[in-house]
Assembly symmetry: C2
């Protein structure tokens, strides 16, 4: 076995999920993630944890949902699913941790399942999802040929890309991100400006007063549930202005490029996209909360050096900022207070490596991708 | 998809497990059983059942157990495992049915795990096993290259072999087996005689008075949990005489051939084997119950036309009889009575297609493989 697979498993089990002897751990292994599953199983055995292995197969999910469509003559609504699936709820309620090891055979394996079917299924499984998110859950991926293809990369090249992002000195990145977190925690307002062709294409302000930033250092000990991670995020509100997202992405199987959102009074009042505009419209029309921001995230993982059309990596990349419309994370809110609520949470990303600045309460914190505690930072332009 | 895969899934879901709308079904999918897993998922969706997919990977089990060995410096006992693994117990307690879809990459995948480690793990998981066996469980296999190799067959040839055994008219086989069951239920004593080179090599009698035979027709509706099945079995006692098992088999990764057992007063008092004798000795030395019979089974599935070194198929083959040392099945015993108890249940098989007879209370029921209700049966030799 490639030694990096074993190291990946150790980072996942020890740094990310903090597994200890006696922990009850549920592991979901995707179709082509067998090898990382083997390494994770070995690490769990060595730590003295209990391991329960699920098969996280998108092709099996698709088959199940196509079966439901066939069994209901294609007219599927939430009533066609059990609203309280007993087995998985019982399983996650008994679990201390959940490790999702992604890496299937085809990133578009469920493309031919009707959207209402998928939505009804997701709705019926909300209780299962909540029980799962009450565990110390962590999501990662094994580098597969299917993900390499989605990234437009050769297989070996993609393996290096993934391990550069995952096998980091997380302790030291967490220290650096703590600086960004302290700036956001102390601040009341964030302004982001980017320029293209000499004129601003993004100029947006948002309030973060009273909100707590999460130092997402790829560990449950930091309220962080992705491996890789490497972002600092908070839950903004009262957004005003214009944002341009130049990083290509896929929303619900639709390729989306160059999204523009205009905010007034905290809500999206206008939008456009160079391609995939209907997918953006669908997101914004989901519910009231889908037109408000749920997240401001600042990518700080410089092990990620390119966009691969995967949100797990793209939003953590150094020199990027992302905003999500929809649901806010509780970890960013004062105890007992609920933030923006929505059935969706869709991240969109801007490259800020050039002609950009981020201000907190009027002070520049990052210019052209460089933070003010880094060499080469220019306070004035 | 090969239409036979879909038919296999339908037999499993409808005939074997009797799945209905709303049932909570746990499916375990082995490494190379993905395709049958897809067909099962689709059938479950169509029936309106809930489906939870486990990954039944022997390679992950091996990795986990090797991890436990590494974490305990190799000196593993039952205390090194959680005696009540919460997740899987909760899962099976919530489940109505459990479908085990076998078919891994390597039938000897756990060969280098120490036997005490495997035994300690099995012991710690007894509660999970009991919860699983309290569901409507069914075990089947997807024809894989690894199983074809174990059977000594080409892949396509093995596929035909499996589907010939699985895709039967189960209703009509169940009717035929009901005849055999009624003979055993009414009888007090079974005698089996086989001859080789003009002299008996098997001549054994056993009591079956008060015991109930199971018509194992590959369906939970018949107390039968294997697909394929096709045997009638009961729980004999007070065994006397000699038995010769000429069908090759594998016991705990050891190839065993031509086992001979001598019984007195219900117990094995002498034994030999042409090869693998030490594996037979290990079985018989497990505990007191391992020297007594737990099962007499009569193979009646004529879709199985050869031995493949897999007990799932071999013991169901028409023209065979098998005896198991060790644990008896509760279904064969009077309500509330417990039969022979043991940690093991090891089946051994005799070919009775030639020079053989089975008598129940002195009347010949089967001669040279032909039952008395079949054409060509000879009451007298």
């Amino acid at each position: 076995m490639d030694e990096r697979v074993r190291e990946h498993a150790e980072v996942l089990v020890d740094w990310s999920a903090r597994i200890e002897a006696g922990d009850d751990v549920v592991v979901s292994v995707a179709e082509d993630a067998h090898e990382l599953g083997v390494a994770v199983a070995e690490a769990l055995g060595e730590r003295g944890a209990n391991a329960t292995m699920m098969y996280g197969s998108a092709e099996l999910s698709r088959a199940y949902l196509k079966g439901v469509e066939a069994g209901t003559d294609g007219d599927v609504d939430a009533d066609d699913f059990d609203s309280d699936p007993a087995v998985e709820r019982a399983m996650f309620e008994a679990a201390d941790a959940y490790l999702r090891v992604g890496g299937g055979r085809n990133t578009t394996a469920v493309a031919d399942v009707d959207r209402p079917t998928r939505q009804a299924y997701a709705k019926a499984r909300q209780g299962v999802r909540e029980a799962r998110m009450d565990t110390d859950w962590v999501s990662t991926v094994h580098p597969t040929r299917s993900l390499a293809q989605q990234a437009g990369m050769a297989y070996e090249e993609y393996q290096e890309f993934v391990y550069d992002a995952v096998l980091r000195d997380w302790e030291s990145l967490a220290d650096e991100m703590a600086e960004m977190k302290s700036v956001l925690d102390a601040g009341d307002e964030v302004r982001i400006v980017t320029e293209r062709d000499g004129a601003p294409d993004t100029d947006v302000t948002m309030s973060i007063a009273g909100r707590t930033a999460v130092n997402s250092a790829a560990s449950v000990a930091y309220d962080s549930h992705n491996l890789p991670s490497g972002e600092v995020f908070t839950a903004p509100y009262d957004t005003e202005g214009e944002v341009f997202f130049d990083v290509p992405m896929t929303i619900d199987a639709t390729r989306v490029r160059n999204v523009h959102l205009a905010f007034e009074g905290g809500e999206v009042v206008d939008f456009s996209a160079e391609s995939g505009e209907e997918a953006v419209a669908d997101v914004l029309d989901t519910d009231d909360g889908a037109r408000r921001l749920g997240e401001l995230g600042i990518g700080m993982n410089r092990g990620i050096d390119r966009f691969t059309d995967s949100i797990l990596f793209d939003e953590k990349m150094g020199d990027t900022v992302h905003l999500a419309v929809g649901r806010a994370y509780d970890a960013c809110l004062p105890e007992g207070e609920s933030g923006n609520d929505s059935a969706v949470h869709v991240d969109m990303i801007s490259d800020v490596s050039e002609r950009s600045r981020m201000e907190v309460d009027g002070e520049v914190v990052q210019r052209n991708g460089t933070f003010r505690w880094e060499d080469g930072f220019e306070a004035e332009n």
